[in-house]
Symmetry: C2
Subunit: 425 residues, 2 copies
C-alpha cells in the first residue's frame, strides 16, 4: 500500500504550487483591498485566463460552458470512451472572502492531474477539473447556479432573475461571453461520469480541535430556517409589577435556552438563533414583541424534523405559561444529502494511506456536492482550516494539511484506478 518516497516529494511540491495558485487567485477581485469575486464578474474572467493557462500547461483541454463553468479535461490514455472523474469546487466568493473556500478544491483537482501526468499511472478514466461559476448565492440571492446547470436545473425563471443593478442572469452570462440560450447544453450525461469529488476547507473547528488534517463528509446536513415571533404586551419598566407582565423578550430568552439544550442533547444537531429584535426597543419599556430567526441542521431529516416539532411544542407551552403569543413560520427547508458510500470508502482509504485518522464529519454548510449527488456518486474531502474560520480574510490552511489532502486524493485516484481496472478486465 505504501507509495514510493519520490511521490512524497512530488506531492509536497504540488501542494506548495496549489497554495501559490490560491494566493495568485486572490488577486483577482472586484473590490480593491479585499477578495470579492462574484458570478460572471470581470475578476472571474481574469481568473479564468490565469487558470486556463495553468490547466493548458498541465496538458488539459479547456472549455467554458454556457453557465460560465470552467472545465479542464485529460482523456484516459488507456480506454476510449472511458468514464470521467470530475474533481473541483467553485471559483466565486462571498464579499471580503478568504483565499481557500472553493478555490482550494479546484487547485487540488489541477494538482491531482499534474501528479498523474508526472507519474507512470495510465488511468482507465478521464480526469476533469471543474471550477464552478457560482456557489455562494451572492449576486443573485440563489446559490449553486454552476452545479445546477450540470444537472439541468437552470430554468428560464433563474435566467431572468436580476441582480441589484437590474442585470439578469442571462445578461450577465452574455457579458461573460456565454450564451444563456444554450444553458441546457451544460447538462452532463449521467453515465459518462463515474464520480464527483470535492475537496473543501471544513469551515468549522472540529478538525482543529481533534488535531487532524482531513475528514471525509458523511452527508450534507438538511436545514430548516424559520422566523419566530413572540407577542406579549409592552409596558412601563417602572410601573408594571413582574406578575402583571407579558414580557416577549423573557419568553424568547426561555425558548432560546431550550433551542440550545435540544441541540446539546441530540448528537449531531446544530441549532442557532442568529438574530433577535425587540420592540418597542427602549431601555425603560418592557418588550412587547420579540422576533428571531432559527437555523437548525442535521444529516438525518427525521431527527431535524423531530427537533423542530419539539421546539414548536415548547413555544406553544410558553404561550400557555406566559400568556403570550408564539408564531413559528418555516422560511426554508431542505433535506440532507448523503455522500456516496463506495466513493467515500475509497476516499477514507486514501486518507489512511496518507497516514491520517479517517475522521467522519457531517457538513453543516451547503456545497456543490449536494447538487452533484442528485446524479453522480459524490464525495467530499474536508481540510482543516485555522480556527474554523471561513468567509473571512483570516481563512488559513497549512502546507502540511494541503499536502495531506493531495496525498489522500492521489491514493483515492489509485484506488479508483484499481477498481475500474478490476471491473473492466
Amino acid at each position: 500500500m505504501n507509495h514510493p518516497p519520490q511521490d512524497d516529494v512530488l506531492l509536497a511540491e504540488l501542494a506548495q504550487r496549489t497554495l501559490d495558485r490560491c494566493e495568485a487567485a486572490a488577486a483577482f477581485t472586484e473590490e480593491p483591498g479585499r477578495i470579492t469575486r462574484t458570478f460572471c464578474s470581470s475578476a472571474m474572467a481574469d481568473l479564468h485566463v490565469a487558470l486556463r493557462d495553468w490547466m493548458e500547461a498541465a496538458g488539459l483541454t479547456c472549455r467554458v460552458d454556457a453557465a460560465g463553468n470552467l472545465f479542464g479535461r485529460l482523456e484516459s490514455p488507456l480506454l476510449d470512451n472511458a468514464q470521467t472523474l470530475l474533481i473541483g469546487s467553485h471559483l466565486d466568493s462571498v464579499p471580503n472572502a478568504g483565499r481557500y473556500d472553493g478555490v482550494l478544491g479546484v487547485m487540488l483537482g489541477l494538482a491531482l492531474v499534474e501528479a498523474v501526468q508526472r507519474s507512470d499511472l495510465r488511468l482507465p478514466f478521464a480526469l476533469e477539473v471543474v471550477g464552478f461559476s457560482e456557489e455562494e448565492g451572492v449576486r443573485y440571492g440563489v446559490p449553486f447556479i454552476g452545479s445546477r446547470a450540470l444537472v439541468g436545473d437552470c430554468d428560464e425563471a433563474l435566467l431572468q432573475r436580476k441582480d441589484a443593478n437590474g442585470v439578469s442572469v442571462a445578461e450577465a452570462l452574455g457579458h461573460f461571453s456565454c450564451d444563456a440560450a444554450q444553458i441546457q447544453s451544460c447538462e452532463l450525461p449521467a453515465k459518462k461520469y463515474v464520480a464527483y469529488l470535492e475537496p473543501h476547507i471544513e469551515q468549522g473547528p472540529v478538525l482543529e480541535s481533534e488535531d487532524q488534517p482531513l475528514s471525509i463528509v458523511t452527508a450534507i446536513a438538511g436545514q430548516t430556517r424559520a422566523a419566530v415571533r413572540f407577542v406579549g404586551a409592552a409596558g412601563h419598566a417602572g410601573t408594571v409589577p413582574m406578575e402583571l407582565r407579558k414580557d416577549a423578550l423573557c419568553a424568547a430568552a426561555e425558548w432560546i435556552i431550550e433551542v440550545e439544550k435540544a441541540a446539546q442533547q441530540t448528537l449531531g444537531l446544530v441549532a442557532t438563533v442568529g438574530t433577535i429584535e425587540v420592540s418597542p426597543g427602549a431601555g425603560n419599556v418592557i418588550p412587547g414583541e420579540a422576533r428571531l430567526r432559527l437555523d437548525i441542521r442535521h444529516t438525518d431529516d427525521k431527527i431535524r424534523q423531530a427537533a423542530v416539532e419539539h421546539l414548536i411544542r415548547l413555544g406553544k407551552d410558553l404561550q400557555q405559561t406566559r400568556n403570550i403569543e408564539f408564531q413559528f413560520t418555516t422560511a426554508h427547508e431542505h433535506s440532507a444529502v448523503a455522500m456516496d458510500a463506495a466513493i467515500t470508502t475509497m476516499l477514507k482509504q486514501g486518507i489512511a494511506a496518507a497516514g491520517h485518522r479517517t475522521m467522519e464529519l457531517p457538513s453543516g454548510a451547503g456545497h456543490d456536492a449536494a447538487v452533484m449527488a442528485r446524479r453522480w456518486p459524490s464525495a467530499m474531502l474536508f481540510i482543516r482550516c485555522r480556527g474554523g474560520v471561513s468567509h473571512h480574510p483570516d481563512e488559513a490552511v497549512t502546507l502540511a494539511d494541503v499536502t495531506a489532502a493531495l496525498t489522500a486524493i492521489w491514493h483515492f485516484g489509485r484506488r479508483l484506478n484499481s477498481k475500474i481496472l478490476s471491473d473492466y478486465f
Copy 2:
C-alpha cells in the same frame, strides 16, 4: 366623618369639569393630529392662556415664574402669612401623548380650589396650584426642569443646554417671555410651604387589577440603568458543533431569565431588559456579541443595589461556565425618594373618607414629587388608568375615578385644615 350629600354633587360636577379641561388642554399641541406639548412651545403658551382664564375665574392670582411654571394662588382668608399647600403636576407631554399624564393633576388642583371656594371652608392656609413647565425631558433630554427651579437646582449648564435645533434653555425661556437670568428667583422659601401634593395617573396596571380607583404612593423608586455586553465568538451556524460554541445570545438569554427570576423573587423589585442587539446578526451566523440594557427599580435602595450585585455575580458565573466575556456598565443611578409619612397618612384618610380601600403603591416612574420632596413634605395620589397605559393616546380615566380622586383630595384638605387649626390654636 361623613360629608354632606351636597358635597357629592359638587365634587362630581367639578370632576366632570376637570375631565372637560383635560380634553380642552389636549387641543393645545405642536403636532396636528396628536398631542405633543414640550417645554416653552407655543402650544404650551396657548395652554397657559386658557388655564389662566380658568384660574382667574376661580379667584386665583396667577403668575409665571422665570422657569415657565404657571401658578394660581388663593390666599388664606383666615390667617395672614399663612403657609401654602402646593398642589399640581406638569403641563408638558411626551410626543404623541395621552390627555391625562401631568395635566390631570393640575386640573384636580384647580378643582380643589373651586370646591373650597364654593364651600364655607375658611382655610388657615393658602392654596397654590402649579403647572410645571417641564417634567418629561423631551426637548432637552433632562427631566424636571420646572420643579428643579423651585428647589434652586437650575444652573448655568442647564440654561446653556441646547435642543435638537440648537436653541438653548435660556433662549427657549426668552421666547416664552421668561427671563432666564432670573431663574434663581424661582426658588420657593422652604418655610412658606406646608406640603406638596401631586395627583397623577398610575401609569401602571395595579389599580385596575385590584379593582380600586386610588392609591397613595409610598415612595418613588430608585433606579439603576446599565449597559450589558456579552462577547463570545461568531461562527457558522452549520459547521460549529454545539460543544465548541461561545454563543453570546445564549449567554444573554440565560442572564435575562435570571434577571426576571431575581425580580419575581424580590417583593417590589422590577427589572427589565428592554433592548437587545446581536452581531453579526445573520440567520446563519452564531451571535458573537449581544448588547442589552437593564433597568432595575425598587423603593429600597439597598434591595436594588443587592439585586444589581446579584446579577453582576451571575454574569460573572456565565463568564466561567460559558467561556464568554461579560461587561456591566452602570449608565445611570438614582436613589429612592420616600413620600412624607404625615402628609401621606392624611391622604390615606382622605381616600378612606371617599369610601375606598387605602392602597399603597410604589411609583416606578419618576415624578416632580421626587424633586419637591427634597424640600417639602410631599405626597402623591395615584388614579387608576385604563390598561395601565400612559404616554400614549389611549390613556383613559373614568369620571367615577376622577370624582373619587377629587373627593379624596377634598377630605385631605379638610384634614390639613383641622391639623393646622389645632396646631395653631
